[in-house]
Symmetry: C2
Subunit: 298 residues, 2 copies
């Protein structure tokens, strides 16, 4: 049997994850039904599942079982979904559409959106604590701690706070990088690190190298987001202004221009691929996924 | 040296906890400074620390070390503080004062309050994962899971959702109890259960009995809250209407009247004290604390 193509692999993991998330979320029949319905609305039936894809691709490197990777992927996707629900609320970005559907506070109400985010975050930690994702419970505690640090005031939530504070300000490249390393980078980096830890122990050098790869992928993801946002802006000729520019948010494109931002992305991509080459065939999916993240058109 | 009085013990634990929370929270010097400042504002310098007191009192029964109980107490107090910050927000209860100070969204802004709650919840799980609270890491994972279940959509956050949905409705006693068992009861019950688990293993019967005590204390706490709210109402002769009545929220007092609510509280208190008597002297503080919760005047 030939190895599935990257595209087949990606579809397979996305389907696995949809099913794993469906099982991990409380069914609406359980009280409080409206909250549970809204939690499912926020998580299921949409999303590229980038973080779970990274977990599965990274887990290949250490030979982790798919079941453990599903569990870690669910926890990361719940954290990601909670952050989207809260970020979309009127007191934050005030967005009305997400993944082509009304945002949670529009479809339900603000109070429900607040509780949905809160309860999804809790469920992420519950899910990661309630079945083995490592043979060593001590390591699993470390993984929980790592997810918390990546999500909290010195990770994702902290990046969001810096982002809020930076609207209308001139950031330099180093400040912009600092913000993104926290806001989107921390969780993406954690996806790689946690995926790897579901399998056999790697040595310190290997872990350090893969942690660097995770950090690079996190930044890459943001640079490409900025490029896509800016290009959508140009393509529609100002009819719908790019959201970042409209919000006067600093981006890689506003700082470097599209051409240099694209060159930076290619350079960082090559750095990640060079490091992954040292891991041979088991790093195939993570290499493919890194290339995919850089060259995606959405 | 004579045993300290209950009042001395309580002051001692409250001071320990203030110091433990101060150390557990990020210093504002760390970026993002405004978020860290707001997190400290939300947690420090106020609050009766009921949940940490329960943790310490329950930990006495299994001979747990104060350091472990501090850690579990911090995690519970962070969850409690996060829930208060979010509950006070305009889209929920829209409260402007808490513990005699402006609420977080008033003192800072709505977006910061949202992130403060989010990051405090994360920090609770981080704190509980990052140092031993049990000799057995597997048990510690179980404790993390227990905290998550008590906090999430089938615990505290779920109770909040039921509460929101019940404004203006006629609940019966069983429905009211269901709401409070989730909204305030779950975390109080977890405080007792988690405190006990920091020490030596108790047998199943002992754990079941103490879990029942935790559940009773959670309900007691709410019944007494309702009575105090109603009595404040009467005392001020309608000048400041009781908040529950003003919000048309069902309470034990609206359902039973003050006299029968008070009698129910006394009966439940005796049930808890009878069970605690079986544990002898190590249960002294938890018995005293239970009585204190029933007879408090604030």
């Amino acid at each position: 049997m030939s190895t599935p193509s990257f595209s087949q692999w990606m579809t397979h993991i996305q389907e696995r994850m949809e099913s794993a998330l469906d099982r991990a979320l409380p069914v609406p029949a359980i009280t409080p039904t409206r909250l549970h319905e809204a939690m499912r609305y926020a998580v299921l039936g949409g999303g590229k599942r980038v973080r779970p894809l990274l977990v599965h691709a990274a887990g290949d490197i250490s030979g982790a079982t798919p079941e453990r990777l599903d569990r870690v992927g669910c926890a990361l996707e719940m954290i990601h979904a909670y952050s989207l629900v809260h970020d979309d609320m009127p007191c934050m970005d005030d967005d009305t559409l997400r993944r082509g559907k009304p945002t949670v506070h529009v479809q339900f109400d603000d109070a429900t959106a607040l509780l949905v985010g809160d309860a999804l975050q809790t469920l992420a930690f519950q899910h990661l604590a309630e079945a083995p994702v490592s043979d060593d419970p001590q390591r699993q505690l470390g993984m929980l701690r790592q997810l918390a640090i990546a999500s909290g005031s010195r990770g994702m939530a902290g990046g969001q706070a810096i982002d809020l504070a930076s609207v209308g300000l001139q950031l330099n490249l180093s400040e912009l990088e600092f913000m993104h390393i926290h806001k989107t980078g921390a969780l993406i980096r954690a996806a790689v690190g946690l995926g790897v830890q579901c399998g056999r122990n790697l040595n310190d050098d290997e872990m350090t190298s893969l942690d660097h790869v995770g950090k690079v992928i996190g930044l890459l993801f943001q640079i490409v987001d900025d490029i896509l946002d800016a290009e959508a802006d140009t393509a529609t000729l100002g009819k719908t202004a790019g959201k970042d520019a409209a919000n006067d948010k600093p981006t890689y494109v506003s700082l470097l221009g599209v051409t240099r931002a694209r060159a930076l992305a290619e350079e960082m991509c090559q750095d990640a691929l060079d490091r992954l080459a040292a891991f041979g065939e088991p790093a195939r999916r993570l290499s493919e996924l890194t290339r995919f993240i850089v060259h995606r058109q959405f």
